[in-house]
Amino acid sequence: EDKVVQSPLSLVVHEGDTVTLNCSYEVTNFRSLLWYKQEKKAPTFLFMLTSSGIEKKSGRLSSILDKKELFSILNITATQTGDSAVYLCAVGGNSGNTPLVFGKGTRLSVIA
């Protein structure tokens, strides 16, 4: 059974800190890994990763995938209170008709 495990489950940091969120997975015939940010409402798309070692970057957020060790990290530098959210990792595997399997998320709280 495909599985996605995120750690830590929750994290509290101060503004300006750098955080690293982890996502490990077990999936048959891996295709891609996606990161989403969920604040009060619906998840919003952050990154899609398909190849090992290539960093995706958007502002203060960056993510990288290791297909050999089966994990990804999401880094946030110089955190701000607006970064407070649940960060979801999802993995697509198997045939083209199989949708994403989501992890339970990491709840990040950034305090001033």
Binding site: R31, K41, P99, G103, G105
Partner: protein, 116 residues
């Protein structure tokens, strides 16, 4: 600004009543997903459609849940009869393309359901 829309945004109902949730995917997207999210279980996939055809609904309790796409602009999720344990936020998401490009999903705002 293309987005997925869902109605209603909130629904409070009594146990045993029928609940219908609607979703309008982003125009041109060929895949629609229904998810349920609770504090305990996180995001769970209930069903999904590609080109209006149901591909997988194994995540749904078949005796009470049903999902349909009467046309390309409307997806519905029905619960009949509803039970208190169905209380959750139900998200619809849509995507476009095939293979890897299919997998970026755009979520609607969700329907928050409370069954008393």
């Amino acid at each position: 600004d293309a987005r997925v829309t869902q109605t209603p945004r909130h629904k409070v109902t009594e146990m045993g009543q029928e609940v219908t949730m609607r979703c309008q995917p982003i125009l041109g997207h060929n895949t629609v997903f229904w998810y349920r999210q609770t504090m305990m279980q996180g995001l769970e996939l209930l069903a999904y459609f590609r080109n209006r055809a149901p591909l997988d609904d194994s995540g749904m309790p078949k005796d009470r849940f049903s999902a349909e796409m009467p046309d390309a602009t409307l997806a519905t999720l029905k619960i009949q009869p509803s039970e208190p344990r169905d209380s959750a936020v139900y998200f619809c998401a849509s995507g476009q393309g095939s293979g890897v490009a299919q997998e970026t999903q755009y979520f609607g705002p969700g329907t928050r359901l409370l069954v008393l």
